[in-house]
Symmetry: C2
Subunit: 190 residues, 2 copies
DNA sequence: CCTTTATGGAACAGACGTGTTCCGCTATAG
DNA sequence: CTATAGCGGAACACGTCTGTTCCATAAAGG
């Protein structure tokens, strides 16, 4: 995918600054202006257009960046180890670190859906396998389909991230609440 | 609040049609055009402006309508009866009936926040009292603050409503999943 | 029959975001 | 010192949404 001609160090830094700023700003307000994104990245709007000719080009770059970060988080969570519920809790921890990207993906799902990630029926295969393992090992409520578990995971992550932004709670406490309620939500009922 | 001069029957019907259409359309896409809303209401854009001079006027009316529907749902749920968890489940049932209004409130929270509803610290008093009752009667995890329970309730409702729209599941099944995971999420941990 | 009420459509001006061009500035490498 | 890379700002055309005005039409009531 990488083109033959390498990009200068300055340029890659600027490009990355724009992408990072876009994730922050668009995570707060999906309809933000290119001018606002440029200002957040501390660059002129002209410069932004130099790197991403059209808005859609920036969104494509954001999609790629999102997929990269999601995959890295999933790798760190070692989804194939331990019980299904434990793996899901580890994934929850890793995903929570994504920060503003959570808001962006949650409020603009088609940004990622259109990418090659999660091509199968709106649920990525790794998570699906994880949930089925949890069904077998008795740590995830067998009445909950994998797609619904995925929905619950994302909605809880988004709620936790928003809660962190709205209240005076610590990041650690917010994550603890998310994991606690998520664990209860997916636990088999007695 | 009601003005002295009563509105004609036709006008109240048209006004209500516009409000209903706005909830539907803005629930799907919060940046929808006034033209799209007018089309959905089967009304000319001129007519829409006759009832709501500016976009903000329409939003104010939506806020009032939202508060009305929320209060009616809360009344139907009889929040002061039974255990805290049971009351919360009843509220979940009632709120789920709000349909597209769920999406609208969830994606545009400031629409309702700015109204007189839920003036206290982002959590309405009725729900707060309900959760505290659940803490005392042992049906709601005492480690979960009322504000977080409210966040979980709303995020689950939104997730369920989106799930209903995205998959081929029945309305009944979607609500069942929501109530099941919500019940587990708030249940005291053994 | 004629007036009131409610409406739709055409047309317009203003505001705003977008995409582009052009020019000037600064820093760094050669 | 000079040439190049990278950047910012001003300006422009274009499209879209908004808010408004004006006029024509259809239905209902007196």
């Amino acid at each position: 995918m990488r083109v033959d001609t390498q990009e200068s160090g300055t340029r890659t830094r600027t490009r990355q600054a724009i992408i990072d700023a876009a994730i922050e700003v668009l995570g707060q307000n999906a309809t933000a202006t290119l001018g606002e994104i440029a200002a957040a990245a501390d660059v002129g709007r002209t410069t932004l257009h130099r790197y991403f000719a059209e808005r859609s080009d920036l969104l494509k770059a954001l999609s790629a960046e999102g997929v990269t970060r999601l995959n890295r988080a999933a790798d760190n969570a070692r989804l194939d180890e331990g019980t299904g519920a434990d793996a899901l809790r580890r994934l929850c921890h890793e995903y929570f670190e994504l920060g503003s990207l959570l808001s962006l993906i949650f409020s603009e799902p088609q940004l990622i859906d259109d990418a090659d990630w999660s091509e199968r029926g709106g649920c990525d295969p790794q998570l699906s396998a994880l949930v089925e393992r949890g069904h077998r090992d008795g740590t995830i409520d067998p009445e909950l389909p994998a797609t619904w578990v995925q929905s619950v995971l994302w909605s809880q992550l988004y709620a936790g991230w928003s809660y962190l932004a709205d209240t005076h709670i610590s990041r650690y406490e917010a994550l603890r609440l998310v994991v606690r309620t998520l664990s209860g939500a997916i636990a088999p009922k007695s």
